[in-house]
Symmetry: C2
DNA sequence: TCGCCTCTCCCCCGTGCGGGGGAGACGGAT
DNA sequence: ATCCGTCTCCCCCGCACGGGGGAGAGGCGA
């Protein structure tokens, strides 16, 4: 389907032209690497990838319209063998790492990585079906993501105040203590608690806390 | 401290001589890679690494005496800049992946990986301080490991009955409901609950449930 | 302007919960 | 034979909790 023997076909997705140019220069300097497409938005990336069917996509996370994560999701979600997607970002400590893995990215590259790192990463990812951090880590990321689901359906229905009350409930505080922390009267907290119970569909604060844990609204530790 | 410019110094740790030889042949074929030591056990690996101070260690997981994970732990636990450790194993779906990351391994390599994958992985790991799957994923693995702690201190102090009551509490049941499920009287459940509260050092059932979640006594999902 | 939502707070009322006691039965350890 | 831990169940008591109402102030979009 895709070139494997010698030539590695790459698509660059980044909203900054300069970044794309820099990447292109670096990659084109290698005999076995060819940049076959560029995209400035997530939507563009999806269509370009569908059109040119590259081996590797270097995908920036922050892009207009559709971010890199969702673009990756769409690219890898389509049937058939997709490209390897390497997600590019500035910081390694943000949640993009987990998200990238969750949607099936093959690698993760920091913008501060050098040219050599870049080309080797591309080569590595293009070839490897069983290398550095593969399926097992995706499973890990999947589990991680599963433990923090997008947000429980009722979370969006909770108002700011109600959510705050629920979070404080989940620390084991009584209504009076919550009132103290929020600087409101106990009666106010009572009514918020009542709203939380109603919206979460449970009967008491204990069940509300359980629901908060089970839904990922809050997490252990 | 260690050679960075051109030569990458590698130590091989595997209990099978043939594997070590094969790895050595592959790596020595590259001008920039040098095998500076071998070890057949985890303990050997630790001492060899301390002696020769390599850039990269290829560490088999299954080894006599001390396995690769614990050896890695000891190697990276010592002060100063340690080598990059690439953990080598046969299957990618076992818990070694998480363990390897937890103890600070820089990479993970499958035995079925080809020669090219191997040398590129070594080069990549030797250079990269900010590449493919770094600190963020270690944090992920750490979090993963942390989420399944050995067992809370008070768990051993709870009797069978008390633990059962706590588990049922954590499903949101009232004392009366718990009594029904356990086939005992409500008063009995009350006293068990009282014991649980006393032993866990909390004041009400909500806090007990929180403690159960936080300590890993029970887990979301 | 008129609704609608959110946040705030009030009332009464019933009860599940937790504290503080005690007590009988069983079994295992000493 | 004695002690101790566990499981079982009882009493009384106070209170935080939750249900069911209502109500006023502010914001915000139709």
């Amino acid at each position: 389907m895709t070139a494997t023997g010698t030539e590695i076909r790459v698509v660059l997705a980044d909203d900054e032209r300069m970044v794309r140019t820099a990447l292109r220069v670096i990659l084109e300097a290698e005999a076995d690497l060819t940049v076959v497409g560029e995209a400035a938005t997530g939507a563009e990336a999806v269509s370009v990838v569908r059109a040119v069917r590259p081996d590797v996509v270097l995908m920036d996370v922050r892009m207009p319209e559709i971010d890199g994560i969702r673009a990756t999701e769409q690219i890898l979600g389509s049937p058939g063998p997709g490209p390897r997607v390497v997600v590019v970002t500035t910081f390694e400590n943000d949640s993009y790492v987990y998200e990238a893995l969750r949607v099936g990215a093959s690698g993760f590259l920091l913008k501060r990585a050098g040219a050599e790192d870049l080309v080797q990463a591309v080569r590595l990812v293009a070839r490897s079906d069983s290398l550095l951090f593969p399926a097992a880590l995706r499973g890990l990321a999947a589990e991680y993501a599963r433990s923090r689901p997008p947000a429980p359906r009722w979370a969006s229905r909770l108002t700011e105040r109600e959510a705050a009350v629920l979070r404080l409930m989940a620390t084991g505080l009584t209504n009076a203590e919550i009132a103290e922390r929020l600087g409101v009267g106990p009666a106010t907290v009572k009514s918020h608690v009542a709203s939380v119970l109603a919206k979460t569909g449970v009967r008491d604060r204990t069940q509300a806390v359980i629901a908060a844990y089970e839904s990922g609204f809050i997490s252990p530790r």
